[in-house]
Chain length 343, copies 2
């Protein structure tokens, strides 16, 4: 399988760092880090995520959204392991010339997202910096069951916590001059759903970097592939379908942007699917069954009578390969025709 | 008492944020946040601290030192509450044009500091950013006893974990064109000492923003003052004394820079001082007894036959008041003559 640029970078950065014997997951294996507290039965889930490119590119040009997302990206990592949220730390680097009203909208975004995710703000720090830079840390606890990105096997079913593609549609609308009207985007991480999911799932990852990057990570870690039986029209968010239609893009491209919608992708053994969907329904949640985990690598979906397939690793590396330029990314993606797969 | 600019900013930023009913400390009251995990007896100590100004001003121009300090500043917050370290999360925003060798020195600084503080790296994330920006989060656990910044009373003794003033001396040597040769600076946070301290102390704070800012924070929170009996020559670091001597500065100014040496300042009830110093000695640690907590606000020290006094709140606000310019800060400080105090 091809190398993933981001994984290679992280491997290089963490080489030689001391690791903990109390940590349950290895690098890449989990959206949040899982650590057993010595001398107790408590397992912490902790994660840190900074927002920088999304601000400098103008994707989160709205300070309220920047604040909101600095909480949500971290809450979503807790959701993907099935953690109960305990609290949030927020480190803010604020440009000295940022105006008072913008700072207050930023804080309102952080505060509102903290409330929406039931993540109390425990503390934080502030710095002055030439560019706005927000780093959140979320802390939670997992009880009897939790999920990592690793553990699924052929025969499992694949689910999404909700419709996919809104992250790409929003980025397309924000960054492309050719785009139609704006797309409403203020995702809430799937924390309550994550706790239900973790009782049944063999693997889980969030779509923080888009659905295709998430699928690819599951392929890399589990040596599997996924067949999506569900028609794309049923699994894509209505706003993503509409964005693709108006722009004349093939709908699958709404899974391919490197900016996600913070849904969960997870796998459940076939024998437990009925019990899982009942458990989910009991909490008012209707997850979307996408398809099957299969031994053959890659992502394939049904289009009319054919199976089509894309190289998920290549797509995942594409944004870095084009130097992080959204226009060039779209052009490169338009040259990526899905190929017929023999399945 | 005068308003502290930084405290006022933080109060404005956290207004309206949801707080946790499981948190043991309020805003400002503790170097690390203390949170009880519901349904257990475990109390977490968590802290996040970003490094931005120190890099953009050139104070941490050396990438190894920047990496080292991004760990140390957080480790020191755990030390000040008396926590056992559990691990570290590191969020790194790296400029795309930073060269490979500099990135590797940065990572070596983080890795070496993580080892030196026995803080395993649990995880983290990377971003691209126009300027280098490092945000660490340290997680620890407190057992039976912990310290916050609040709780000291007149009659307590004041201790420092080690000599003071190295942070100011280093900043002076790095940033002042008039300065003599460089000052060696690579502090190790006082984690083992912090655990001994927490068995006896009524209050503790680290000197991350310099000794005078730390004293001032204790004054604000506890409505007390401190008389330093110990001659300044005995409590200042030799390199700080030498820096002051060569530059012709009064030695007390080495307590006044807004950049610290990451020692702990703490208070112990007089009746426990003997037991505390024996406990410290048993672990090979020789803390410095500085003086006494008194009811009258302010910091006063003995110079020959007089008591001299400075306005700690004014000095603490000075760096912000001069727009963060080191040269103007020094000039303003040189106009600050300590006044005779009637004690």
């Amino acid at each position: 399988m091809n190398t993933v640029t981001e994984r290679a970078l992280i491997a290089r950065l963490v080489a030689g760092m001391p690791r903990s014997s109390h940590q349950l997951n290895r690098v890449h294996e989990s959206d949040a880090e899982l650590v057993k507290i010595p001398g107790t039965d408590t397992i912490l889930a902790v994660t840190t995520d900074g927002i920088a490119e999304e601000i400098t590119t103008g994707l989160y040009g709205n300070p309220y959204l920047a604040g909101w997302m600095s909480v949500t990206v971290n809450a979503s990592d807790l959701a993907a392991v099935g953690a109960e949220p305990l609290g949030l730390l927020m480190s803010e680097a604020i440009p000295p010339d940022m105006n008072e009203e913008a700072v207050m909208r930023l804080q309102a975004g952080i505060g509102d997202a903290a409330k929406a995710h039931r993540l109390p703000v425990l503390g934080g720090d502030t710095n002055a910096s030439p560019t706005l830079h927000l780093t959140g840390t979320a802390i939670g606890v997992v009880r009897d069951r939790w999920a990592t990105r690793r553990g699924t096997r052929p025969g499992d079913r694949v689910f999404a916590s909700g419709p996919l593609g809104l992250g790409s549609a929003f980025a397309f609308a924000r960054l492309m001059s050719t785009s139609p009207a704006g797309v409403a985007y203020q995702p809430v991480a799937r924390l309550p759903e994550g706790q239900v999911m973790a009782r049944w799932a063999t693997a889980c990852i969030d779509t923080s970097d888009g659905a295709i990057a998430a699928f690819d990570e599951l392929f890399q870690l589990n040596e599997i592939g996924i067949l999506v039986h569900r028609p794309l029209e049923e699994l894509l968010h209505p706003a993503a379908l509409e964005t693709a239609r108006v722009a004349g893009l093939p709908p699958w491209m709404m899974l391919a942007g490197p900016h996600g919608e913070f849904e969960l992708l997870f796998t459940v053994p076939r024998v437990h699917c009925e019990a899982f969907t009942a458990d989910a329904a009991a909490s008012g949640w209707d997850p979307i069954m996408l398809g099957d985990v299969v031994p053959q690598a890659g992502l394939a979906w049904r289009e009319e009578d054919d199976w089509l397939e894309v190289d998920t690793t290549r797509i995942r590396n594409l944004f870095t390969a084009v130097g992080g330029d959204p226009q060039r990314y779209l052009e490169a993606l338009l040259c990526t025709a899905p190929e017929p797969a023999s399945r």
